[in-house]
Symmetry: C2
Subunit: 401 residues, 2 copies
DNA sequence: CATCGTTTGTCTAGTGGATGAACAAAGTTT
DNA sequence: AAACTTTGTTCATCCACTAGACAAACGATG
């Protein structure tokens, strides 16, 4: 069965209403007249759509604005408090949960560090966090509009977690579990995809349409924004860049391949290199990303060089990606972004030396602005968008299909 | 300035008309009633749209069909002879030109081998070919609806050839030149992109929506079909996969990078390996792809092994691409596809051994069906599609913008 | 302060396209 | 021959957008 979008006036209205709401979100405070100008829609059309949006509590009137030589406009604002969204970032050794309003502002935040990778335990913790966040949400028109979860692994289009190697999970139906528990739409997404979306919406990626977001943690994941949209592969599990070969004669990887990027440029690689080099930490501290960064900060040159090596190898893989995608922007995110100071120069240098000239034109390389929050904010925003496009009057959407 | 698509009934009609035409193209012979069923549009709506399409000569009625228990349906067919399209494949040592009808059937074909890479000469040849093809087109309602040219290089979104290394061209405005000469819409596209489109439309890629087309000639180019659409990077020059690093300590490439894929798996690589190994051809024939394949066919094991090596290295690069994109299908095309017999096994083996299991699921690896014609057919089809969507009544499209 | 021009937002009549139902034409089945 | 089906057209109706009239609210000007 092919999807035939048959076009009729219902679709037109829904689409125009979305357009109006979008303009209000992007440009508020704004008047009806300004929206008409901006969209090209007729004043009357805008007026009627705006009134419907008011009835549905998606926007509010906030009194008269400044006159531009005539009658004073009525200012419209997006009602970001019409509902709340929950975003969960499921890391390998932590869970971060945020409650955001419809505009992505964080209202509450919960973090738990986890030791047991046991699914039962983690599931309990997740439910706990969601419970706490739900209770912390102020009363609103629509309540919790959705829950999003970012996981470090492969998720199919139906939201099933096929494989999360670092958690040792396979075929987990987290979505159904949470939906049964909380009775709101739940959405599961790969951690890197969510991070890419988060940075594009709220972080350094705001002004770009073709973004490569590289999530460098224990492993390496990549989220792709192509033509302004998140690209997922055939079955929803693209972005396994971590296992791209960058050295033909390299060591064997756990994945079966050889010379994988992840073996050279991830947090795991850094830790192993540090151990091999016999890095000594003060007070017998355990070797970790944070402790190594601290050591480098204190002036330990050898550790600095370890970090710089990571930067160079990041550049090697990035060079491939840039030549492939010719993106506008590359964002380095997740935990390793904290080492920006040591990574940036060797990374930039490698790319400057190796990348094709025409791919370097208009290429921006940035480090994450949201740091550890990109993923949680990203999945929360996913839920919001899903809610706003499908709408509370979901019946209509179904009817018109 | 952002593009605001404001939706009104004009758009609805245009979109529905396109939908109806599309269904006729895909499913002809077909009746009005069947279209209504297929699209979900009302019988009356279909009837009126079909009548307009008849007036515009895009379709024809071909008499009554077989009854299914009631009045006999009137059979509609796409009028593939309403106009003709010209596709030019500009290779490094040849020019291939085809004249196709609106359905992509080849009506005429012209090939010229070129020795001089001088732009003036090539330009003259191209104009000659187009002239010949134009004259060979039968009379029709719309005549030549467009000219497409596929070039082995980087083309920006405005159709300017920024760089064609193997032709030694830079910043060539071929599009304007041809448009002034022939007064029809001209469109310039990268050879690999066009090939990908050609294979998806007419070749082995018909049934897939996420395709990686690898054009292996003197260099390596790649065309990406993602979610059913051709993906081009930020400035329209993605797909420079040929310069993806697959060996960190590899030799230096002309592009400035090291260990580029192209140095291991292209036609050029094959020829150089053959020279280095001192391959001796009968009758002092010059070393070329064709002559090497002939030699291998005659049972020369050493030459066969050279070809198999190419297959393996193709696998190395493909492995990266597959892990990145998780495509449904990979197509090996262009001249090297002629060596399918020797390439297939080592290529398949490498991928079977190295690629992540979940990326191998539902992955199809094929060799081009159109062989040397993918690019020419692809660009010709581009022109047709542009013509059919913008329509002959281009004024309307402009009006509604 | 009165008048004029301007801006904002609402209202109404009109337009265009999709829809559903009625209907005629042309079949098949019983 | 009668009953039922399928096909394609016609027509009244619905619905969303548009244009333009209009009133309300405001600044500028004399």
């Amino acid at each position: 069965m092919k999807e035939n979008k048959t076009w009729n006036q219902h679709v037109v209205k829904k689409e125009n209403k979305s357009l109006v709401l979008e303009k209000i979100m992007e440009n508020s405070p704004i008047s009806r007249a300004a929206i008409a100008n901006l969209t090209g829609l007729n004043k009357g059309t805008v007026s009627s759509l705006v009134n419907e949006l008011l009835d549905e509590h998606f926007i509010t009137e906030s009194g008269p604005g400044k006159s531009n030589g005539g009658r004073r406009p009525v200012i419209l604002e997006f009602n970001q408090l019409a509902g709340y969204s929950i975003g969960i970032d499921l890391g390998v050794n932590y869970i971060l949960g945020v409650l955001t309003d419809l505009k992505g502002n964080i209202c509450h935040e919960e973090t738990v560090t986890i030791n047991e990778l046991n699914f039962e335990e983690i599931n309990k913790e997740i439910i706990n966090i969601i419970d706490t966040l739900t209770k912390s949400a102020p009363p609103s028109a629509y309540g919790i509009v959705g829950i999003g979860v970012g996981v470090p692994g492969v998720v199919n289009k139906e939201g099933k977690i096929l494989l999360a190697p670092n958690l040792d999970w396979r075929n987990v139906e987290l979505k159904e579990l949470l939906e049964k528990q909380f009775h709101v739409p739940v959405l599961i997404e790969n951690e890197a995809n969510a991070g890419a979306y988060g940075e594009r919406k709220f972080g350094v990626g705001k002004d770009y349409n073709n973004i490569i977001y590289v999530s460098v943690g224990i492993g390496i994941g990549v989220g792709l924004i192509l033509n302004g949209e998140l690209y997922k592969g055939n079955n929803g599990f693209s972005g396994e860049f971590g296992h791209m070969t960058i050295e033909l004669d390299g060591p064997k990887c756990r994945c079966g391949n050889v010379g994988c990027w992840e073996l050279y440029a991830s947090e795991k690689a850094l830790l192993e290199n540090a151990k091999r080099n016999g890095v000594k930490l003060p007070k017998n501290e355990a070797i970790s990303l944070d402790s190594l960064i601290d050591l480098a900060k204190e002036g330990d040159a050898a550790t600095g060089r370890l970090l710089e090596d990571i930067g160079k190898y990041l550049g090697v893989g990035l060079n491939n990606i840039i030549n492939i995608f010719n993106p506008e922007q590359v964002i380095i995110g997740n935990r390793m972004a904290a080492a920006e100071y040591w990574l940036k120069e060797p990374l930039d240098n490698w790319i400057y030396d190796q990348t094709l000239w025409f791919s370097q034109k208009d290429l921006q390389i940035d480090f994450s602005a949201l740091r550890t929050h990109s993923t949680a904010l990203g999945v929360a925003a996913f839920s919001v968008e899903k809610f706003l496009t499908n709408g509370p009057n979901h019946a209509i959407t179904v009817m018109n299909k």
